[in-house]
Protein backbone atom coordinates (compact mmCIF):
# COMPACT_ATOMS: atom_id res chain seq x y z
CA UNK A 1 0.00 0.00 0.00
CA UNK A 2 1.78 3.09 -1.26
CA UNK A 3 0.03 5.88 0.59
CA UNK A 4 1.76 9.02 1.67
CA UNK A 5 3.35 8.45 5.04
CA UNK A 6 1.24 11.17 6.67
CA UNK A 7 -2.01 9.90 5.20
CA UNK A 8 -1.22 6.39 6.31
CA UNK A 9 -0.37 7.62 9.75
CA UNK A 10 -3.60 9.56 9.94
CA UNK A 11 -5.61 6.49 9.03
CA UNK A 12 -3.81 4.47 11.65
CA UNK A 13 -4.26 7.24 14.19
CA UNK A 14 -8.02 7.12 13.83
CA UNK A 15 -8.00 3.34 13.96
CA UNK A 16 -5.74 3.28 16.97
CA UNK A 17 -7.78 5.80 18.93
CA UNK A 18 -10.95 3.95 18.12
CA UNK A 19 -9.42 0.60 19.01
CA UNK A 20 -8.09 1.92 22.28
CA UNK A 21 -11.49 3.32 23.14
CA UNK A 22 -13.19 0.07 22.23
CA UNK A 23 -10.68 -1.93 24.19
CA UNK A 24 -11.13 0.27 27.19
CA UNK A 25 -14.86 -0.22 26.93
CA UNK A 26 -14.29 -3.95 27.12
CA UNK A 27 -14.10 -4.99 23.49
CA UNK A 28 -11.44 -7.65 23.56
CA UNK A 29 -11.65 -8.12 19.82
CA UNK A 30 -10.30 -4.59 19.48
CA UNK A 31 -7.16 -5.82 21.15
CA UNK A 32 -6.81 -8.45 18.44
CA UNK A 33 -6.94 -5.76 15.80
CA UNK A 34 -4.47 -3.62 17.68
CA UNK A 35 -1.95 -6.37 18.10
CA UNK A 36 -0.54 -6.51 14.55
CA UNK A 37 -0.05 -2.74 14.51
CA UNK A 38 1.65 -2.75 17.85
CA UNK A 39 3.67 -5.80 16.93
CA UNK A 40 5.11 -4.05 13.89
CA UNK A 41 6.07 -1.09 15.99
CA UNK A 42 7.68 -3.34 18.56
CA UNK A 43 9.83 -4.94 15.90
CA UNK A 44 10.85 -1.48 14.76
CA UNK A 45 11.73 -0.67 18.35
CA UNK A 46 13.78 -3.84 18.63
CA UNK A 47 15.62 -3.07 15.41
CA UNK A 48 16.58 0.35 16.63
CA UNK A 49 17.55 -1.04 20.01
CA UNK A 50 19.91 -3.52 18.38
CA UNK A 51 21.29 -0.85 16.08
CA UNK A 52 21.96 1.61 18.89
CA UNK A 53 23.55 -1.10 21.00
CA UNK A 54 25.92 -1.84 18.14
CA UNK A 55 26.74 1.84 17.98
CA UNK A 56 27.50 1.72 21.67
CA UNK A 57 24.52 3.77 22.87
CA UNK A 58 22.51 2.78 25.90
CA UNK A 59 18.89 3.04 25.26
CA UNK A 60 15.79 3.95 27.17
CA UNK A 61 13.22 1.46 26.02
CA UNK A 62 10.40 3.71 27.08
CA UNK A 63 11.66 6.46 24.80
CA UNK A 64 11.30 4.08 21.87
CA UNK A 65 7.86 2.96 22.99
CA UNK A 66 6.85 6.60 23.30
CA UNK A 67 8.04 7.26 19.78
CA UNK A 68 6.16 4.22 18.58
CA UNK A 69 3.01 5.62 20.07
CA UNK A 70 3.56 8.98 18.41
CA UNK A 71 4.06 7.22 15.10
CA UNK A 72 0.90 5.23 15.46
CA UNK A 73 -1.18 8.06 16.79
CA UNK A 74 0.25 10.49 14.24
CA UNK A 75 0.07 13.43 16.56
CA UNK A 76 2.53 15.56 18.46
CA UNK A 77 0.59 16.20 21.63
CA UNK A 78 -0.90 13.08 23.09
CA UNK A 79 -4.06 12.37 25.03
CA UNK A 80 -2.69 10.87 28.23
CA UNK A 81 -5.41 8.28 28.46
CA UNK A 82 -4.61 6.93 25.04
CA UNK A 83 -0.94 7.01 25.76
CA UNK A 84 -1.35 5.15 29.02
CA UNK A 85 -3.37 2.48 27.32
CA UNK A 86 -0.88 2.22 24.51
CA UNK A 87 1.89 1.56 26.98
CA UNK A 88 -0.27 -1.03 28.67
CA UNK A 89 -1.03 -2.78 25.40
CA UNK A 90 2.58 -2.64 24.24
CA UNK A 91 3.79 -4.20 27.46
CA UNK A 92 1.27 -7.01 27.09
CA UNK A 93 2.15 -7.57 23.46
CA UNK A 94 5.87 -7.66 24.20
CA UNK A 95 5.25 -10.14 26.96
CA UNK A 96 3.15 -12.29 24.68
CA UNK A 97 5.70 -12.28 21.88
CA UNK A 98 8.60 -13.20 24.11
CA UNK A 99 6.78 -15.87 26.08
CA UNK A 100 5.37 -17.34 22.89
CA UNK A 101 8.87 -17.49 21.47
CA UNK A 102 10.21 -19.04 24.66
CA UNK A 103 7.51 -21.72 24.66
CA UNK A 104 8.15 -22.63 21.05
CA UNK A 105 11.84 -22.78 21.75
CA UNK A 106 11.29 -25.21 24.59
CA UNK A 107 8.76 -27.22 22.62
CA UNK A 108 11.31 -27.74 19.90
CA UNK A 109 13.81 -29.10 22.37
CA UNK A 110 11.36 -31.64 23.72
CA UNK A 111 10.83 -33.09 20.29
CA UNK A 112 7.65 -31.38 19.32
CA UNK A 113 6.54 -31.36 15.73
CA UNK A 114 6.71 -27.62 15.39
CA UNK A 115 9.93 -26.45 13.86
CA UNK A 116 11.25 -22.96 14.12
CA UNK A 117 14.09 -22.08 11.78
CA UNK A 118 15.99 -19.02 12.94
CA UNK A 119 17.48 -16.74 10.38
CA UNK A 120 20.74 -16.75 12.18
CA UNK A 121 22.24 -18.51 15.14
CA UNK A 122 22.54 -15.23 17.01
CA UNK A 123 18.83 -14.62 16.70
CA UNK A 124 17.94 -17.77 18.59
CA UNK A 125 16.85 -17.48 22.16
CA UNK A 126 18.96 -19.65 24.43
CA UNK A 127 17.25 -22.55 26.17
CA UNK A 128 18.18 -21.07 29.51
CA UNK A 129 16.64 -17.74 28.65
CA UNK A 130 13.51 -19.49 27.39
CA UNK A 131 13.16 -21.35 30.69
CA UNK A 132 13.72 -18.17 32.68
CA UNK A 133 11.11 -16.26 30.74
CA UNK A 134 8.53 -19.01 31.08
CA UNK A 135 9.18 -19.27 34.81
CA UNK A 136 8.87 -15.50 35.16
CA UNK A 137 5.65 -15.44 33.17
CA UNK A 138 4.13 -18.15 35.36
CA UNK A 139 5.29 -16.46 38.55
CA UNK A 140 3.85 -13.19 37.31
CA UNK A 141 0.55 -14.92 36.63
CA UNK A 142 0.54 -16.25 40.21
CA UNK A 143 1.39 -12.84 41.59
CA UNK A 144 -1.48 -11.25 39.70
CA UNK A 145 -3.91 -13.50 41.60
CA UNK A 146 -2.58 -12.14 44.88
CA UNK A 147 -1.96 -8.59 43.86
CA UNK A 148 -2.95 -7.44 40.40
CA UNK A 149 -1.44 -3.97 40.65
CA UNK A 150 2.02 -5.31 41.43
CA UNK A 151 1.80 -7.67 38.50
CA UNK A 152 0.89 -4.76 36.23
CA UNK A 153 3.79 -2.72 37.56
CA UNK A 154 6.18 -5.52 36.66
CA UNK A 155 4.59 -6.04 33.25
CA UNK A 156 4.87 -2.34 32.42
CA UNK A 157 8.45 -2.06 33.65
CA UNK A 158 9.97 -5.37 32.62
CA UNK A 159 8.13 -6.01 29.37
CA UNK A 160 7.10 -2.46 28.52
CA UNK A 161 10.38 -0.87 29.53
CA UNK A 162 8.79 1.94 31.53
CA UNK A 163 10.59 3.85 34.25
CA UNK A 164 9.18 4.08 37.76
CA UNK A 165 7.85 7.56 37.03
CA UNK A 166 6.22 6.52 33.76
CA UNK A 167 4.64 3.52 35.44
CA UNK A 168 3.19 5.80 38.11
CA UNK A 169 1.71 7.99 35.41
CA UNK A 170 0.23 5.11 33.43
CA UNK A 171 -1.34 3.48 36.46
CA UNK A 172 -2.28 6.79 38.05
CA UNK A 173 -0.68 5.96 41.35
CA UNK A 174 2.04 7.74 43.30
CA UNK A 175 5.71 7.19 42.60
CA UNK A 176 6.11 5.99 46.18
CA UNK A 177 3.47 3.33 45.61
CA UNK A 178 5.20 2.17 42.44
CA UNK A 179 8.53 1.92 44.27
CA UNK A 180 7.00 -0.15 47.02
CA UNK A 181 5.07 -2.34 44.61
CA UNK A 182 8.21 -2.88 42.56
CA UNK A 183 10.41 -3.95 45.44
CA UNK A 184 7.81 -6.26 46.95
CA UNK A 185 7.06 -7.78 43.56
CA UNK A 186 10.77 -8.28 42.89
CA UNK A 187 11.19 -10.15 46.16
CA UNK A 188 8.11 -12.28 45.57
CA UNK A 189 9.00 -13.14 41.97
CA UNK A 190 12.63 -13.87 42.72
CA UNK A 191 11.65 -16.23 45.50
CA UNK A 192 8.96 -17.89 43.38
CA UNK A 193 11.41 -18.47 40.55
CA UNK A 194 14.16 -19.69 42.81
CA UNK A 195 11.77 -22.21 44.29
CA UNK A 196 10.72 -23.28 40.81
CA UNK A 197 13.90 -23.42 38.73
Amino acid sequence: MMLEFDAMNALMADDLTEMLLEWREGDKAALNRLMPLVYDEIRRIAHRYVQRERDGHTLQTSALVNEAYLRLAGQQSVDWQNRAHFFGVTAQVMRHILIDHARRRRYVKHGGEVRVIPISEAAEMSMQRASELIALDEALEELSKLDQRKSRVVELRYFGGLSLEETAEVLQISLMTVRRDWRAAKAWLYKAMKDEL
Binding site: N32, M35, P36, Y39, I42, R43, I45, A46, H47, Y49, V50, E53, L59, T61, V93, M94, R95, H96, I97, L98, D100, H101, R104, V114, R115, V116, I117, P118, I119, S120, A122, A123, E124, M125, R129, L133, L136, K145, L146, D147, V154, R157, Y158, F159, G160, G161, R180, R183, A184, K186, A187, W188, L189, Y190, K191, K194
Partner: protein, 96 residues
Protein backbone atom coordinates in the same frame (compact mmCIF):
# COMPACT_ATOMS: atom_id res chain seq x y z
CA UNK B 1 -0.80 -17.95 50.41
CA UNK B 2 -4.06 -16.12 49.84
CA UNK B 3 -4.77 -12.46 49.28
CA UNK B 4 -5.31 -11.60 52.96
CA UNK B 5 -2.16 -13.41 53.99
CA UNK B 6 -0.16 -11.67 51.29
CA UNK B 7 -1.38 -8.31 52.56
CA UNK B 8 -0.17 -9.20 56.06
CA UNK B 9 3.16 -10.39 54.73
CA UNK B 10 3.59 -7.35 52.54
CA UNK B 11 2.90 -4.97 55.40
CA UNK B 12 5.73 -6.50 57.41
CA UNK B 13 7.99 -6.75 54.36
CA UNK B 14 7.58 -3.07 53.50
CA UNK B 15 8.24 -2.05 57.10
CA UNK B 16 11.38 -4.17 57.15
CA UNK B 17 12.67 -2.82 53.84
CA UNK B 18 12.06 0.71 55.10
CA UNK B 19 14.59 0.01 57.81
CA UNK B 20 18.36 -0.48 57.62
CA UNK B 21 19.42 -4.16 57.35
CA UNK B 22 20.69 -4.25 60.92
CA UNK B 23 17.25 -3.39 62.30
CA UNK B 24 15.18 -5.72 60.18
CA UNK B 25 15.34 -8.89 62.22
CA UNK B 26 14.08 -7.31 65.42
CA UNK B 27 11.47 -5.33 63.52
CA UNK B 28 10.10 -8.49 61.92
CA UNK B 29 10.09 -10.33 65.25
CA UNK B 30 8.07 -7.56 66.88
CA UNK B 31 5.75 -7.04 63.93
CA UNK B 32 4.95 -10.74 63.67
CA UNK B 33 4.10 -10.99 67.39
CA UNK B 34 4.49 -14.74 67.70
CA UNK B 35 3.16 -15.72 64.28
CA UNK B 36 6.06 -17.97 63.31
CA UNK B 37 4.85 -18.65 59.81
CA UNK B 38 4.48 -14.95 59.11
CA UNK B 39 7.99 -14.40 60.41
CA UNK B 40 9.39 -17.15 58.18
CA UNK B 41 7.57 -15.96 55.05
CA UNK B 42 8.62 -12.38 55.57
CA UNK B 43 12.21 -13.24 56.38
CA UNK B 44 12.42 -15.39 53.26
CA UNK B 45 11.18 -12.51 51.15
CA UNK B 46 13.64 -10.05 52.68
CA UNK B 47 16.41 -12.50 51.86
CA UNK B 48 15.05 -12.88 48.35
CA UNK B 49 14.97 -9.13 47.87
CA UNK B 50 18.57 -8.71 48.94
CA UNK B 51 19.68 -11.65 46.81
CA UNK B 52 17.68 -10.47 43.81
CA UNK B 53 20.04 -7.58 43.16
CA UNK B 54 19.35 -6.30 39.67
CA UNK B 55 16.92 -9.07 38.83
CA UNK B 56 14.43 -7.72 36.25
CA UNK B 57 15.86 -4.22 36.57
CA UNK B 58 16.71 -4.22 32.88
CA UNK B 59 13.71 -4.51 30.56
CA UNK B 60 13.35 -7.77 28.67
CA UNK B 61 14.02 -6.08 25.37
CA UNK B 62 17.58 -5.37 26.47
CA UNK B 63 18.09 -9.11 26.57
CA UNK B 64 15.88 -10.23 23.78
CA UNK B 65 15.82 -7.50 21.13
CA UNK B 66 17.77 -9.78 18.82
CA UNK B 67 15.02 -12.35 19.09
CA UNK B 68 12.40 -9.81 18.08
CA UNK B 69 14.55 -8.53 15.25
CA UNK B 70 16.02 -11.57 13.62
CA UNK B 71 14.15 -14.50 15.03
CA UNK B 72 11.83 -16.78 13.13
CA UNK B 73 10.24 -14.01 11.17
CA UNK B 74 7.12 -14.62 9.25
CA UNK B 75 5.23 -13.04 6.46
CA UNK B 76 1.57 -12.20 6.80
CA UNK B 77 1.44 -13.00 10.47
CA UNK B 78 -1.38 -12.21 12.76
CA UNK B 79 -0.64 -11.94 16.38
CA UNK B 80 -3.18 -13.01 18.90
CA UNK B 81 -4.61 -16.24 20.12
CA UNK B 82 -3.05 -15.66 17.20
CA UNK B 83 -1.79 -17.70 14.38
CA UNK B 84 1.78 -17.26 13.31
CA UNK B 85 2.48 -18.82 9.98
CA UNK B 86 6.10 -19.58 9.43
CA UNK B 87 8.21 -20.52 6.53
CA UNK B 88 10.16 -23.72 6.88
CA UNK B 89 12.70 -23.29 4.15
CA UNK B 90 11.92 -22.47 0.56
CA UNK B 91 8.35 -23.05 -0.43
CA UNK B 92 7.27 -24.61 2.82
CA UNK B 93 4.67 -23.11 5.11
CA UNK B 94 3.62 -24.52 8.42
CA UNK B 95 1.17 -23.45 11.03
CA UNK B 96 2.38 -22.97 14.56
Amino acid sequence: MNVERWQQIEAVLQGALDRPPAERESFVKDACAGDEELKEETTALITAYVEAGDFIEQPAIAHDAHVLVGGATSVGREIGPYRIIERLGAGGMSEV
